[in-house]
Amino acid sequence: MSADVGRRCALRTIGSAPLLALPGCSPIPASRAKRRIVVVGGGFGGATAARYAAMWGGDSVDVTLVERDDAFVSCPLSNLVLAGSRTLADITVGYDALARRGVRVIHDSAVAVDPERQRVRLARGDDLRYDRLILSPGIDFFYDRIAGLDTREARERFPHAWRAGPQTVSLRRQLEAMRDGGVFAISIPRAPYRCPPAPYERACQVAWYLKRAKPSSKVLILDGNEDVQSEKALFAKAWNDDYRGIVEYRPDCVLTGIDAATRTMRFEVAEDVTADVINIIPPHGAGDIARSAGVVTANGQWCEVHFLTFESVKVPGIHVLGDAIQVAPLMPKSGHMANQHGKVAAAAALAALAEQPVNASPVLNNVCYSFINDREAAHIVSVHRYDATQQTFVSVPEARGVSEEKSALDGDYGFAWARAIWTDMLG
């Protein structure tokens, strides 16, 4: 991290390795001896991995980050953009500082990975060669599991807004255009999905907006799970107190189809629902590039990794992190957790290049804030320690906790958390 003395030590140990590999040879130029770490995906996981690999690797490595978007848009706080208390600009951060910190940032799409030749193919640019590849591919959606979502038009009409950006804005516009007395319906896929409390936070945020702007309207939560997946007592209280008469929760609503003409949602068992604004979060899994790399191993959906290094269990030399992985027990798919993965993966990639042992006992923490209105929030916290016997992370029971109730203090900390973690990942 920030200790210069720590960085110097790392440089000494890692930097000496290439020289040793060539006994008797005259020293080769440092630039040619550099090892290459390529990171795909500049979200919470990938940007963090790139920044820390560059910081800890120093002159011993070239770190390249491939990111398709020009700027990072945060999923955390994006539900406040839906509510109108924040703008997209408030949750957007550029990649300039990361570039100044020694990361080569390429704005392009990674379209294929060749693990044999250790290359990443880009949509526009030349192939990138790597010595270690870190994939932080986020999620892609299984649209084919919902009849009627097969066209681009349908996907734009019933946006997921589960990657913050244009769809966040389009869903906001639909809410603004909705009549008073209308129904906003949110469809939640079966767990595990990205960010367990986020659908329920979204219901609160939309209700906050509707209560003030269109008070006869309703928010209908159609959960594909049998119960609320995170902070149930807290959210139930908000729906019963703050948003009484506005929010209705229905469990066991596994969405199977959508009729665009009548805006009717069909479910496995539950009755059809017609709504004015429909937010469909389709089932999802690891981002498509993970499939190309051959690292999607769990149920055709997620990527299993060795938790000491976040290296794929299937393809050596490729680390996978963030929402794309098959998580350890009680480990949430969250931005904070992806940021924590990124540091372990960066250290492991550098250790592999330097032929050094990795940290044998990594500890990860997770903090998530859920906003109940425009300024009050609640937190959920956990700490996850690597267990060598089980070879996975184990959640520490006494470190788990949630807010007893929403508060403005947690809200202040929630906003501070966002600024802090954006700084940690993007410089």
């Binding site: 790392a10 000494r12 140990t13 390795a17 500890v363 923490n365 956990s382 700490v383």
Partner: protein, 97 residues
């Protein structure tokens, strides 16, 4: 040879400083704090360069329940006392960049 010397130097300087077996492990531990306390940022509380005893007493206080807070009383319980001491050493000696 050079590598061995480098490791010895690293171990002597940081290992002695932190009282911890491997300085890179302490660095990794400290990185887990940086999500909320990033390097060179003032939010919510900068950790680098703070007095060692202040850091240690606060971390211990969060862990044993004598100090109140929002998320830190829970997070501190996930780390061992030795780890909290190593973190206090690390941040006290680190310079804000």
């Amino acid at each position: 040879m050079y590598r061995a010397i480098a490791i010895v130097i690293a171990s002597c300087t940081l290992g002695a400083m932190a009282g911890h077996a491997n300085p890179l492990d302490v660095r990794a531990l400290a990185a887990s704090c940086a999500s909320c306390h990033p390097p060179a940022a003032s939010l919510p509380v900068p950790l680098e360069g703070q007095p060692r005893e202040m850091l240690a007493s606060r971390l211990h206080g969060f862990r044993d329940g004598s100090l109140h807070g929002t998320v830190m009383p829970q997070i501190a319980k996930g780390y061992t006392i030795d780890e909290l001491d190593a973190l206090a050493d690390y941040f006290a000696q680190a310079r804000a960049r």
